[in-house]
Symmetry: C2
Subunit: 463 residues, 2 copies
């Protein structure tokens, strides 16, 4: 199920085209040839008008009318395979929450169930204008969903192992999982490695995973500095994670350092991981992130839902860190609407005590559209290929309608997209020149069949 690029070049026109690397273009157009963008500009300059005999006669055209066409949205962190847990892990603290999630995933569901779950999550992404997902989970499962849906992405194979004594065994399991995933990997859907988090991965396993990532040139992602519980474990060897590990006979030590320092001390930052969350970070951590060439996946709604606090996004941006936006998985966030995620993230920064207008201008609607697209691509190291509308880049496109009682009048298109639009207002999703979603219909996945498979799997979770 490789992407079927349209055989003929086609032209998409819209009231606004947002290249992101340049100013918005009114009455704009994007010419797609194969899986690439061939041209971006004013509609009359690129496509001509067929009735005037200008422009190629054979050109297929799609006029989106009162909509904004922009680079496809990049979801810098999600867990597609856990879509089935949406709404099932509510109102609990982080520690029992993650226990509940892992128990459902590893004890109740089989690989086929996880594939159904991931496919349903991919459907939500495609409908919501997401073109690239960075997913941590079981790579073999996630790659199937990426193949089925046509999405671009990185499937970071997760590895767990808090017990140093099991390091070798866990590393072998990781290599086996990577071998199993290899057959499904393509240039569009790549494999990576994700040593899960400092409270589930020993220092030794972190070192080995980083070595493997560097050796095989695989991208890496880590849940890092997410919770107070993680901070308490690393700094003081205390808190619920410490108690849990000690209860399983695993040695726990007070390291007296931040998560970032811990990762740096173990050589992990050399693999330039994507750091997921990074809420509990300070000036020294930000310098480490930037100077080591790492990046951040910012998940504001998940951070809020699980009481982790407000991440220092304004500080990151002021220091030039690479930042993308992520919905995190539906087990925590529930709705994976990346436009709402961006709006929530921007408003949350404004709600911080002492937020000034100078601060928030650094996170205005245009800056947020950049985070949603090019920012995410930079965070994933994919910005040479996607994240902006430029000739030669891959044709990953999203369109958001600007008309309707919830959107009009809307000021400039970026303001409407960031402060008023919803995933429900997405009207087009294109990945590598292939139309995945248009006119309310997903082209790649049969929704009824996908729902039926999801519901069959959900039965195993009980009520």
């Amino acid at each position: 199920m490789e992407p079927l690029a349209e055989s003929e070049p086609f032209l998409i026109t819209a009231r606004w085209v947002l290249p992101v690397t340049g100013p918005p273009i009114e009455d704009g157009a994007v010419l797609v040839r194969g899986d690439r963008i061939a041209a971006v500009g004013r509609g009359r300059d690129i496509g001509g008008r067929p009735e005037e005999g200008r422009g190629p006669r054979s050109l297929s055209r799609l006029d989106l009318g009162d909509a904004a066409l922009l680079p496809g949205l990049v979801n810098a962190h999600t867990h597609l395979e856990l879509t089935i847990l949406r709404g099932r892990c509510e109102e609990v603290e982080f520690f029992p929450w993650i226990r509940r999630v892992t128990e459902a995933r590893f004890r109740k569901l089989e690989a086929a169930d996880l594939v159904s779950s991931a496919r349903w999550g991919a459907l939500e992404a495609v409908r919501g204008g997401v073109t690239t997902v960075a997913d941590t989970g079981d790579a073999h499962v996630v790659l199937q969903a990426l193949a089925d849906s046509g999405l671009r992405g990185i499937a970071y194979q997760e590895v767990f192992g808090p017990d140093e004594r099991e390091c070798h065994e866990r590393l072998k399991a990781l290599e086996t999982a990577l071998d199993a995933a290899r057959g499904l990997a393509t240039p569009r859907a790549r494999v990576g490695i994700s040593p899960h988090a400092p409270y589930t991965v020993s220092a030794a396993l972190f070192r080995e995973a980083a070595r493997l990532a560097l050796e095989r040139r695989l991208p890496m992602a880590i849940h890092a500095a997410e919770s107070r519980a993680e901070r308490d474990l690393l700094r003081e060897g205390a808190g619920p994670f410490a108690a849990f590990l000690a209860g399983r006979g695993i040695s726990v030590q007070a390291r007296g350092v931040s998560t970032l320092r811990h990762l740096a001390d173990n050589g992990v930052l050399e693999a330039r991981p994507l750091l997921i969350h990074a809420v509990h970070t300070g000036v020294e951590d930000w310098d480490l992130i930037r100077d080591s060439g790492c990046s951040v996946a910012h998940c504001p709604k998940s951070n809020a839902k699980l009481c982790h606090g407000i991440a220092p996004v304004l500080e990151w941006l002021a220091r030039g860190l690479k930042v993308g936006l992520g919905t995190d998985g539906p087990a925590g966030n529930n709705g994976c609407d990346l436009l709402e995620e961006a709006r929530f993230g921007a408003l949350l920064q404004r709600a911080r005590p002492g937020a000034s207008v100078e601060d928030i201008r650094r996170l205005d609607a245009r800056a947020v559209v950049r985070l949603l697209t090019l920012g995410g691509a930079e965070a994933l190291g994919l910005d040479a290929e996607v994240g902006s509308l430029e000739p030669g880049k891959l044709a990953d496109l999203t369109a958001v309608r600007l008309a309707g009682p919830q959107l009009e009048p809307g000021g400039d298109p970026e303001t409407t997209i960031v402060f008023a639009a919803s995933a429900r207002d997405v009207v087009l999703t294109v990945v590598g020149g292939r139309v995945l979603f248009h006119d309310g219909r997903v082209a790649t996945i049969d929704e009824d069949a996908a729902r039926a498979a999801l519901q069959r799997a959900a039965v195993k979770l009980g009520r």
Copy 2:
């Protein structure tokens, strides 16, 4: 244009019915007779099955399938007439923002433009499942939009007047506006008074407005304790509002008190106003609010957008204050999606430093659904008539679909509504037994005509 209650009783069935005053009912039904709810319960108990010969044969039926039927949403604070300013007042601080809004409203737009604007805002409300709006603005304008749309509401006539010397004149203008509005008022669309805010209303005018409200038994609403600028004006006689007033020759004094104390000292709390925002309030203020029988309209997204901070909602609820949720106007909030507003408000409380799971359980999905409905009705003093599904109450109903890639699987219906659904997922809006919205179509307003009128008015604002 009074509500045309259906002439025959009709039965609405849905997978879930949420009475709010009782537990969710699976496969539930609501029987509507005239403008009232006649029965609420299991579908098989109320409606019978026509094919079995049970239940009234003549009963019209509407089966919503996989959806939740709940009391109509109550938007406890908005400015319908400012819908036209959506997206036009971005990235500025509160003081220049409010100057920009008032300039557009009073200098550039005429009454007919404001009616077009308010009608368009009413359309958004109806589509988003709102059945009652509490609006502050020009009551005559807002009542027209309520009449056209079929919405229930209170149109609080705003009065401004920071200069004590103009108190008499401003009061006369208020009375004239109330007289003009009287002809449009109905039991469904009532008139109230809103002395705008402590920085635009003198103490004398506050006293007179409260007297008038008590004398005429009119509900009252005040923007109170919204911003740091307001706090600085009242406590210290300083800040941008003080400078502005002094520049117009209006005497400014450091009162050294909170907004709530200022209102109490001037007898305003005796009129039991709805206090809009109340962000900058402390323990003494909360006691004043509760003990005087006032209520709060909580507008979390607007508070965040304009950098006002995070309101102490958990503290309000712990003390038993009456709280409703408001979107505020589209000039600040942009999208007036009350479901998203509720989600944002709940997540914001969890993002507060030190938020614990005990705290957030007080604001779980069920509690948030209550705020959206009965909480809002209580805040507006309308809870004897609306806000829950109970026989004898007015038939104000909203239904939200529970099916689809953005919602499934969703756990319990309240969790789906609060943490995943959008205004775009509303499938039915009924006010007083009259169907205002169903199947994607608004029954009361011609959308194309409303859009054309809005666009004509918007031309006056320039680009």
